[in-house]
């Protein structure tokens, strides 16, 4: 760690203890012939930011959806704060409520107001009262700079605003970790930075994050590690500066040169 920007996280990273997310040899098949994940192992410590990149179709979305059991897998184990995700006895709704997830297409609920989007799960899952949930929602809307949008519907907001609401919605559950699946790739270019700014701030505050993204600027700025995936396998899992320096795998090199030349 040499750059000042990574300092807040490097402190957290060194805190030893059980990882927030641990994957051990996770394999998944969509059909007996088509293996989408091939023995993926990695872990994310408390306060760590891990960027996942790789060519389209390499299994990045599938991998992070396995973390909160949105996708089942056939082999291996995943633990979130020591709780086994792939154990039949695990209370999945409870486990999922502790992991925030942000999707490529925002997935706000279009029939609910912004306020209702932020309070629905707080009330139904965490059983918070209306006042508490509303207060939490307002605080988070303010944090993502959208205080005045509470009574509107998602369709009335720009893409960048919707994605910031989606981040606030996930944060309202007080998650121990946040998963991002290409949070900026559905956005118009001029809206990318407003979302990345929120994510950078979140990372610097010490949030544990696993981020699928091709925004290498974001990776350089806040990621502790970069995971490179290809054909369902984790090809590289290295500290950020090592990933952008050398040496590294040929596939990753090729991928980086393509991404960075854009």
């Amino acid at each position: 760690m040499t750059t000042a920007t990574t300092t807040p996280n490097s402190a957290a990273k060194q805190s030893s203890g059980a990882p927030v997310i641990q994957m051990i040899g996770v394999s998944k098949w969509y059909t007996p012939e088509f293996q989408v994940l091939d023995a993926c192992s990695t872990s994310v410590q408390k306060g760590e930011v891990v960027v996942v990149c790789g060519p389209s179709g390499s299994g990045k979305s599938t991998l992070i959806k396995c973390v909160n059991a949105l996708e089942p897998f056939q082999q291996g184990d995943i633990f979130v704060e020591g709780v086994q995700v792939n154990d039949r006895a695990t209370n999945l709704p409870k486990l999922r409520s502790r992991i925030g997830m942000v999707f490529q297409n925002f997935e706000l609920f279009p029939h609910l107001t912004i306020m209702e989007n932020l309070t629905l799960a707080q009330r139904k899952v965490l059983k918070r009262g209306k006042d508490e949930a509303d207060a939490k929602a307002r605080k988070l809307l303010q944090r993502v700079g959208l205080s005045d949008q509470a009574p509107k519907y998602p369709g009335q907001l720009s893409g960048g605003q919707q994605q910031r609401v989606a981040i606030a919605r996930a944060l309202a559950m007080d998650p121990v970790a946040m998963l991002f699946d290409e949070p900026t790739s559905a956005l118009d270019p001029e809206m990318v930075s407003e979302v990345l700014d929120v994510m950078v701030e979140l990372a610097r505050e010490g949030m544990t994050m696993m981020v699928v993204t091709h925004e290498m600027g974001f990776a350089r700025k806040v990621a502790n590690r970069v995971i490179f995936m290809d054909k369902g396998a984790i090809v590289e899992d290295v500290p950020t500066e090592e990933f952008f320096g050398s040496p590294r795998s040929e596939r990753a090199q090729l991928f980086l040169s393509k991404i960075l030349s854009h």
């Binding site: 959806k65 909160n68 949105l70 999945l92 709704p93 409870k94 486990l95 999922r96 409520s97 502790r98 992991i99 925030g100 997830m101 999707f103 297409n105 997935e107 706000l108 609920f109 279009p110 029939h111 629905l120 799960a121 139904k124 899952v125 965490l126 369709g155 919605r169 996930a170 559950m173």
Partner: protein
């Protein structure tokens, strides 16, 4: 043929036709639409559940009912249910069932099949990510369905559900075969009594047409309106 068209016979029959006949028809239509939508939604959820044997049961029901003529189902219910009830309670003679209730149950069970196909299409047309987002927040299956999926599916499909209700409105006239006092039934009875079947049936056709047409136009307006909102 129309030289002696008797308007007076229609005018005299108006209160009876509307206050009793049309009220019966509309009550039957609305209640059957509501129960049909509820039962249809249950069938749709069963079909999409992927939990053996729920999809098979719902699918078999839908396919079975769809291959029966409605008129036959109405006859069945009307004539068989009293005998079934008799068997069930061990009564010495068939138990008469309120004809309105019989008609309501018949139409609800029959129309549920069409409403279920509409709701199924509505549920399937939602982006998969909506369900994933609900689960990711920790909501249960029931909560995801109740709070996220069904409200959107229902809202998106409302114009189609209403169009099906207009079809149902027309179909309810089939209860005339049971001599019930729905709109068409009353028109027929008065026509028979006064020897004015031509007048009464032409008038009945006109009323069914006007109501259905006006309702269709209203649905079209609603559709345009919701299309803008989304």
């Amino acid at each position: 043929m129309f030289s002696n068209f008797d308007f007076q016979v229609i005018i005299d029959a108006l209160p009876y036709l509307f206050l009793q006949g049309m009220v019966f028809t509309l009550k039957l239509t609305l209640l059957a639409a509501i129960f049909g939508t509820i039962f249809g939604t249950v069938l749709a959820l069963m079909r999409l559940s992927g939990v053996w044997p729920l999809p098979q049961i719902a699918g078999a029901y839908v396919n079975f009912v769809r291959s029966l003529p409605l008129l036959l189902v109405i006859f069945w219910f009307f004539f068989l249910v009293p005998f079934i009830a008799q068997k069930m309670v061990g009564s010495p003679r068939p138990i008469p069932i309120d004809p309105f209730l019989t008609a309501l149950i018949t139409f609800s069970l029959f129309e549920a099949v069409f409403f279920s196909e509409i709701m199924r299409a509505g549920i399937q047309s939602l982006p998969k990510g909506q369900v994933a987002a609900g689960y990711a927040l920790g909501l249960s299956y029931t909560q995801v369905m109740r709070r996220i999926v069904l409200p959107q599916a229902f809202r998106n499909m409302l114009p189609v559900l209403l169009t099906q209700t207009i079809v149902l409105f027309q179909d309810t006239s089939l209860v005339y075969v049971l001599s019930l006092n729905d709109f068409l039934g009353i028109a027929g009875k008065i026509g028979q009594r006064d020897g004015r079947l031509t007048e009464m049936y032409i008038f009945a056709a006109l009323v069914y047409f006007l109501i259905s047409f006006a309702a269709s136009q209203a649905v079209r307006r609603l559709q345009a309106h919701t299309a803008i909102i989304r």
